[in-house]
Symmetry: C2
Subunit: 218 residues, 2 copies
Amino acid sequence: MVSPRRTGAESSRTRALLIHVTERLMRQDGYAAVSSRSVAKAAGVTPALIHYYFPTLDDLFLAVFRYGAEKNLARQARVFTEPQPLRALWELSVEPARTALLSEFMALANHRKSIRDEIAEYSRRFRRQQAELLASRLPDFGTGPDDIPPAALLFLIGAVSRGFVAEDPLGLTDGHAETRALVERLLRRYDSGALAADTGARAAEASTLEDGTAEDGT
Amino acid sequence: MVSPRRTGAESSRTRALLIHVTERLMRQDGYAAVSSRSVAKAAGVTPALIHYYFPTLDDLFLAVFRYGAEKNLARQARVFTEPQPLRALWELSVEPARTALLSEFMALANHRKSIRDEIAEYSRRFRRQQAELLASRLPDFGTGPDDIPPAALLFLIGAVSRGFVAEDPLGLTDGHAETRALVERLLRRYDSGALAADTGARAAEASTLEDGTAEDGT
DNA sequence: GTCTATAGTTCGATAGAC
DNA sequence: GTCTATCGAACTATAGAC
């Protein structure tokens, strides 16, 4: 009994609401905008109630993170079962809402030592899952002398998607369309013909790549 | 006379010290760690003096930003005069200290409306300068059907370098070495033979790429 | 140019009533 | 489960002495 203080049940409806509201706050205004008062106001409750469910703010951040992390790992696993796994992974990765939240947590991890370890460990697990699924679904990927190594590809997908969401709000969009087109070219080469020496892949030029402007629940 | 309040001279030694101290704070602990108190403590003065030189904290942030921005534009222009401009640009871009600071300002811009415009405008100017210098120094770059378009390349350099500094502190380094090697391959192809159809470029495999662990002035 | 002192705000967290 | 009330700390910014 280190902590005699009361805490709300995991199954609580209100608890879920607080997590949801906090997630939205982080995405829209950044982690620095999260306080017991701001969350309480957005949820229509009093600040004290935040601390009833989450003794410290770090507990709240971690709850938001864990909730999203589980969903992410599950979605990522599902994505690799699709007919074109690389394309599906790419489209998942460039969903703005999802990526913006991830960026906030990466920034938060640098400044709140208390939660850095958990975010760091999850990030490694997340990328390891990508690597394993990629290796099992596309065992020949990256074997050619001119190919992108699998690990590099996965890093690039993450870095590029975070690049989009970091630059977009600044109105900095130079090179975004060109990069999307470039990725589209690579996806055609890899996902359809499984390394079919890029012949003829350059022919069809009509882009089926629609923007990743996902369902951002306001 | 809108503001009758006193303000320190631009040439002041103390003013320069405050800018320097704030820059270090931002790099090491993030923009959220900057307050009149934290800066004052790190500089060995009192909080009131911060407001003497910088009426609001936004003024301080902007001063730090402008100081670095001017240096950056100048360095970037110089880099394009070197024998291997692309390699020089890449090496400049992956300097951790420089890139970490840039990332902090991009995050800050999303959350402090008052300074977003200036950071956004500078970012566009910065990339435009890259594009112009690239076009003038390597006019043939990106003209081949399989080449990376110049705008995409510049976006990628920025996104990848910010990816490194965002992931490193989390111990997330999967794909970093592979990406550096991949970049090295591209640089050999582009910078030496100017689009020499990548023949023979694959031969030499000894990497001269040394880590971008730059002089981080503690 | 630098300080002390302080007003006014917001924050995290807790105690205890209902 | 939710609230009121409140403590103590940290913050931005200002006034004015030195």
